[in-house]
């Protein structure tokens, strides 16, 4: 009985998935068409609906960023270009448009630390694969050494190399996760946003943040977020004025 129910559910999913994809494709095409006709707000609605349904892709975020750019909302344009690049590091169109939007908004960026600069030739996912591969090779080398009658220099050298690669990859993952483009990265979407010393609109200002500026969210208290700012200071920003780049 259970097997039959599972089989029916599987068949239902198998049949429903193509229709969902077809619907998403239709929504995407419609939004793109609205954009082409200059109906940017309608295009934004279309792309946002697609994103709300979980159909995330670099191109959708890129197109949404373009639509926001056309409406003059540079903060959200930059946010969506950043999202496109978070999904696909090498997205040339998003990189180019992000630079244009930043120049236009005079947005402030968080400078990457020197380890980030040296490690950015690979992505977090690539480092994850490298770490896993190095880990298992090291384990295999250890097993080989345990059962071999004599200690092979080659196997020992391979073990050391694998452990070094594993440590470096894990360090890189940690650096990226906590770094300027990590999971805490947020973009200022509001206009004339002031980072303040305390959670009050009357508190002294630490830094004026143009729309599209990068901040790193450190903690949240009520309607305020405590963030690391591009000038290495920290301040409180109204939560409604900043959005995380990485959607979870």
């Amino acid at each position: 009985m259970k097997i039959r129910a599972s089989l029916i559910a599987f068949l239902f999913c198998a049949l429903a998935t193509p229709s969902v994809l077809a619907q998403a494709d239709a929504e995407f095409a419609k939004a793109t068409q609205e954009y082409a006709q200059g109906h940017f707000k309608e295009a934004i609605s279309g792309y946002e609906a697609l994103i709300r349904s979980g159909q995330w892709s670099a191109n959708v975020f890129y197109d949404l960023g373009n639509a926001y750019f056309r409406t003059g909302d540079l903060g959200r344009a930059i946010l969506n270009y950043e999202r496109a690049l978070a999904l696909e590091r090498h997205h040339p169109e998003a990189t180019a448009n992000l630079q244009i939007a930043r120049d236009e908004a005079r947005a402030l960026e968080i400078l990457p630390s020197w380890p980030e600069r040296y490690l950015q030739f690979a992505s977090v996912n690539q480092y994850s694969i490298a770490a896993a591969t190095a880990f298992w090779l090291a384990i295999f080398a250890v097993v080989t050494l345990i059962f071999s009658r004599r200690r092979s220099v080659t196997v020992i050298a391979m073990l050391i190399c694998c452990l070094l690669v594993f440590a470096a990859a894990v360090g890189a993952i940690f650096t990226f996760d906590r770094g300027s483009k990590g999971r805490a990265l947020a973009i200022v979407t509001g206009k004339d946003v002031q980072a303040r010393l305390a959670t009050a609109d009357t508190a002294n200002s630490v830094l004026a943040l143009p729309a599209g500026s990068e901040v790193k969210i450190l903690s949240t208290r009520g309607d305020w977020i405590y963030a690391a700012l591009p000038n290495n200071l920290r301040g409180w920003i109204p939560a409604k004025n900043a959005e995380r780049v990485r959607l979870l």
């Binding site: 994809l21 191109n59 373009n66 750019f69 977090v124 770490a131 384990i139 979870l248």
Partner: protein, 615 residues
């Protein structure tokens, strides 16, 4: 003998004196007739005269809480006349303010009824009372000690200030070093209408005040009034634990009739701390409040005024001084002086035309403990949009309370070189008729048209992507099962190989051992021919099995031909080997009586040599 006589005469005189002493009398006194609510006062009833006295057990007065605290007895000799007196102590705690009358009390002494006089106690309600200003004379031991052994003092140098003006404040707390004080609550300035900065301890000195030594701890802070009006700053409150003399069962006389009431140092505890143990008590220390008049700031503040009040100077520098259009120039403005630096904002650019200004950063280096004086440095990045010859003027306005007027500091024009881009605005306007007002000056034009964004992308991947890093996804960890299973298989394979190797090694070792044992027997034992040939053929079989290596031949199935082939023997040796096996079989299967009973040494040597040559 003479001394005993003298003592007897003196005793007689004392007895006579007592006999002829005055009749009993009673009096009552308050240690203080003017107190405030919360303070205690001591009532002492002194009965002079012979005999026992019965003091009033309870004195009840509405609004006063009166408790007996003990009694003390004194003997006095005046001109060979002795007198004794008993002092009964009561502690009075007023529960409210007002004028109280302690009625006459009846005391029975020497068989007579005596009456104390009526006493008047005035109790005031004064919230600003202070232990230092009002040392509680004649009250409880704790109060006496606290009042005279420690004090707090609030020093506000200014009596008039402006709203927001930083007023330095000093707090002095003095402790008699012998009470070994320990602050359990740091001093705090109470009051409303002003903000106070964090207290900073600035030093500790030893001073003598009114002939008494004190350890004086000085704290510094600053206050700023939040609104205009008249305020009371303080009092300063603190709590400390001090060691005071332990109260004795018969209290030391503190009355006007006996010892010095004002001097707590006369307590034996201080003259000899080991005479009796002190006890640690918690006391509150208060200072007197200080009046402060706060005036509002005058109207018509300059536009660049951000609330800074004090006295400041400004220096400005810029780096680099030679740039291209659009390049950043970092302008450093250092504001030094004395005032409320938390309200000193970055100097404003008076004319931003042709410039793009980025938000400034600031850092403050204070020169004193409380941050009233110091240097606040601002770094503002300016980017020229066109050719410029000087940096724009930076202005900072503040209110000078000494001069009672607003002041504006302006930076000197700093010459710079800007290359590229359009001509400077000044040059453009200079070629035109002079404009009467800056409002109609030509606005700078952008030198570059903003670049347009790239095209829209029309393709969309079939599968949705995820922001979650790979190492947080289930599929990543599920994939680790593949190498894990491979590892288990690899380890199993290695373990099996090791076991096989181990079994073979044990077999070979056993064969080696057997061969060596048999060889030893062949050389040394005088075995019968049957046993000798059997052992010899066995050695050949074992050696053949060992020599066969990985083929693993069983020694029991080895015959002469196999052994000869394994060791690649020549014809003679092959024949010898055959004979050896034949003789072994004969002795084994044809019985022990078909040949000689012993083997000749020559035969033994031949057999041993043949076996030793099997390599």
């Amino acid at each position: 003998m003479g001394r005993a006589f003298l003592i007897g005469i003196l005793a007689a005189i004392v007895a006579a004196g007592s006999t002829f002493a005055d009749s009993p009398s009673v009096t009552a006194v308050l240690s203080n007739s003017e107190i405030v609510v919360g303070e205690t006062v001591e009532l002492q009833i002194k009965v002079t005269g012979p005999g026992d006295a019965q003091p009033p057990e309870e004195i009840s007065v509405d609004g006063l809480e009166i408790h007996a605290t003990g009694q003390s007895r004194q003997f006095e000799i005046h001109n060979f006349a002795t007198s004794s007196s008993v002092t009964y102590n009561y502690t009075i705690l007023p529960l409210r303010d007002g004028r109280f009358t302690i009625p006459s009390q009846t005391v029975r002494a020497g068989g007579k009824l005596l009456r104390t006089p009526e006493l008047i106690l005035n109790v005031a309600d004064a919230p600003g009372r202070s232990s230092s200003a009002r040392p509680s004379r004649g009250t409880q031991s704790q109060s006496v000690s606290a009042g005279d052994l420690l004090f707090a003092e609030l020093i506000v140098p200014k009596k008039v200030a402006y709203v927001g003006e930083i007023v330095p404040v000093q707090i002095r707390m003095g402790f008699d070093p012998r009470v070994r004080p320990r602050l359990i609550e740091p001093p705090e300035i109470t009051g409303q209408g002003f903000t106070a900065q964090k207290l900073q301890q600035s030093g500790q000195t030893s001073e003598t005040i009114n002939g008494r030594p004190y350890d004086v701890v000085t704290y510094k802070t600053a206050i700023a009034a939040a609104r205009a009006g008249k305020f009371e700053v303080g009092p300063v409150k603190a709590k400390a634990q001090v060691i005071v003399p332990r109260r004795r069962s018969a209290p030391r006389s503190r009355s006007p009739f006996g010892f010095d009431l004002d001097d707590p140092f006369s307590d034996p505890f201080f003259s000899n701390p080991f005479a009796q143990m002190g006890e640690r008590r918690e006391v509150e220390i208060k200072s007197e409040p200080v009046a402060l008049e706060v005036k509002p700031l005058p109207p018509n503040a300059p536009p660049s005024f951000s609330g800074a009040i004090g006295n400041f100077v400004m220096t400005t520098d810029a780096q680099p001084k030679s740039v291209q259009v659009g390049d950043p120039i970092t302008v450093t403005s250092a504001i030094s002086g004395r005032g409320n630096f938390d309200r000193v904002n970055a100097p404003v650019v008076e004319d931003e035309r042709g410039w793009h200004k980025y938000p400034p950063s600031s850092k403050f280096k204070q020169d004193d403990e409380v941050g009233i004086s110091g240097t606040k440095t601002f770094e503002t990045v300016l980017s020229p949009n066109e050719k410029k010859q000087t940096l724009p003027v930076l202005a900072l306005s503040y209110f000078d309370p000494a001069k009672e007027q607003y002041m504006t500091l302006r930076s000197e024009p700093i010459a710079i070189t800007v290359q590229g881009g359009a001509a400077a605005t000044q040059n453009v306007t200079g070629s035109q008729p002079p404009s009467p007002s800056p409002a109609i000056a030509i606005a700078p034009q952008r030198t570059q048209k903003p670049q347009d964004i790239l095209y829209q992308l029309t393709d969309r991947p079939a599968t949705a992507e995820s922001f979650a890093p790979l190492y947080t996804r289930t599929v990543f960890w599920t994939a680790q099962l593949i190498p894990f299973l491979a590892l288990i298989g690899f380890a199993g394979w290695k373990i099996r190989g090791a076991r096989i190797d181990n079994r073979e090694a044990r077999r070979i070792a056993a064969l080696h051992h057997e061969a060596s044992e048999l060889m030893h027997k062949l050389r040394h034992d005088a075995a019968s021919p049957r046993e000798y040939y059997a052992e010899a053929s066995r050695i050949v079989r074992v050696k053949t099995a060992l020599a066969s290596g990985s083929s693993g031949i069983d020694p029991n199935v080895v015959d002469a031909e196999t052994a000869a082939d394994t060791f690649k023997l020549n014809t003679d040796s092959r024949d010898q080997l055959r004979r050896l096996f034949e003789q072994s079989d004969e002795w084994q299967y044809s019985g022990a009586h078909n040949g000689p009973a012993t083997i000749s040494p020559e035969n033994r040597r031949e057999v041993v040599e043949l076996i030793e040559n099997l390599k």
